[in-house]
Amino acid sequence: MEELGKRALTGDIRAVSRLIRNIEDQVPNTHEAIKHIFPFTGRAHVVGITGAPGAGKSTLTDQLICSIRAKNKTVGVMAVDPSSPFTGGALLGDRIRMLRHADDPGVFVRSLATRGAMGGLSKAVGDGIHVLDVMGKDVIIVETVGVGQQEVDIINHAHTVLVVLVPGMGDEVQAIKAGLMEVADIFIINKADREGARKLYKETLSMMDMGKFPSGWRPPIVMVESNLEPHSFAKSVDELYEKIQEHYKFLYDNNLLQERAQLKVQTEINDALRSAILEPVLNKLIETGEFDQMVQKLLKKETDPYTLADEVAAKYLIK
């Protein structure tokens, strides 16, 4: 495993993709590879892109890759789509929008399924970012699944979060109020060709006027032209990229990168503890059949979940 980490550090594409695969599949010992690369992480600018299903996230990412490549920077993308809760299968439909970059060695695109994770991401995103980071990608774009207001885990991983809004989605503005407002660093009004784009812009603007921005960064609202007008689309995404860079510079100049990094490491230690402590215990319980017995006991009302949890803690945790 460590070997895989070493190869990833040299930018070996097969090693990188295999490593991400192992993270996704939770292959034992994958942590060894992450341990190896962790010291080298923290270089890349991580950009999150979130918004409702079909808002145009992938189409934007595709064009954003062009803008970033035009500045001679390399790009890594992780695009997340939902797994079917019924079959566990998934249609990963983001890559198709970015296919034209497939031949560009400066671009690495990886599709991930949520595999049951809530929050709009895959569990592999956190470590996946590290892998793309150490392979040398300058900018890492993380596309979340099409989300509602609850699924905002992206904030724990990205330096800059783009929230994509499209006209004609009804309670869109409600959603902003309810949650996305807090996570957005930049608002994008996409599909400006559609009716209602101006109106949405104004609504978003007036909502911003009511907002408070303790960090001093007031999220700008960027109108992106229709992707069906390729030339003006490209131009407006170039402008978007400038705003993204501005935001990064703002974080840097105001020592706020640290604050973002803190969110990420908090999540990471949380996850790591979970996988180091909780998961092994759970696995053990399942393996020994204790878990099933506990379920049966609860069904018969012989005990309650809290008593059981205390018993398990007493047995497995060294105080």
């Binding site: 998934a90 990963l92 595999r115």
Partner: protein, 133 residues
């Protein structure tokens, strides 16, 4: 541990017959696989790069235009050139009998033609494509 079979499904060349590919993509999802469908009009290079970056367990090619004689072996060859020999390539479409052996010789692992049931395809994958170790 949650291993999943990941499949890249692609249409190489200029062919636009995508009815079969789309049916298969849905079928694969319903069989519990993760499917990356890259649509029509892919070049072999794009397919190979996608297969590597996505670290898939299988590449599925669908071409009904007759250009499979060039395109299918080309994908296998380019994978080899990139040092990839552990991703099996499977093809389907209008493949006349005379082309079968040459395609197998070129390295295709299986070929499915019109009339193949979805269940038989899923079954073949389940028995022959193990999720990556």
């Amino acid at each position: 541990m949650a291993k999943k079979i990941r499949i890249l499904l692609a249409k190489p060349g200029l062919d636009g017959h995508d009815r079969g590919a789309k049916v298969l993509a849905r079928c694969f999802r319903d069989a519990g696989f993760e499917v990356i469908y890259t649509g029509c009009h892919n070049t072999p290079e794009q397919i190979v790069n996608a297969a590597i970056q996505e670290d898939v367990d299988m590449v599925g090619l669908s071409c009904l235009s007759g250009a499979h004689t060039y395109l299918y072996p080309e994908v296998v060859q380019q994978l080899k050139d990139r040092g990839v020999t552990d991703i099996p390539v499977v093809g389907g479409g209008i493949i006349p009998d005379r082309d079968m052996q040459p395609l197998y010789d070129a390295g295709l692992k299986a070929i499915f033609t019109p009339g193949a049931t979805l269940d038989s395809i899923v079954e073949w994958i389940n028995t022959n494509i193990a999720a990556k170790e």
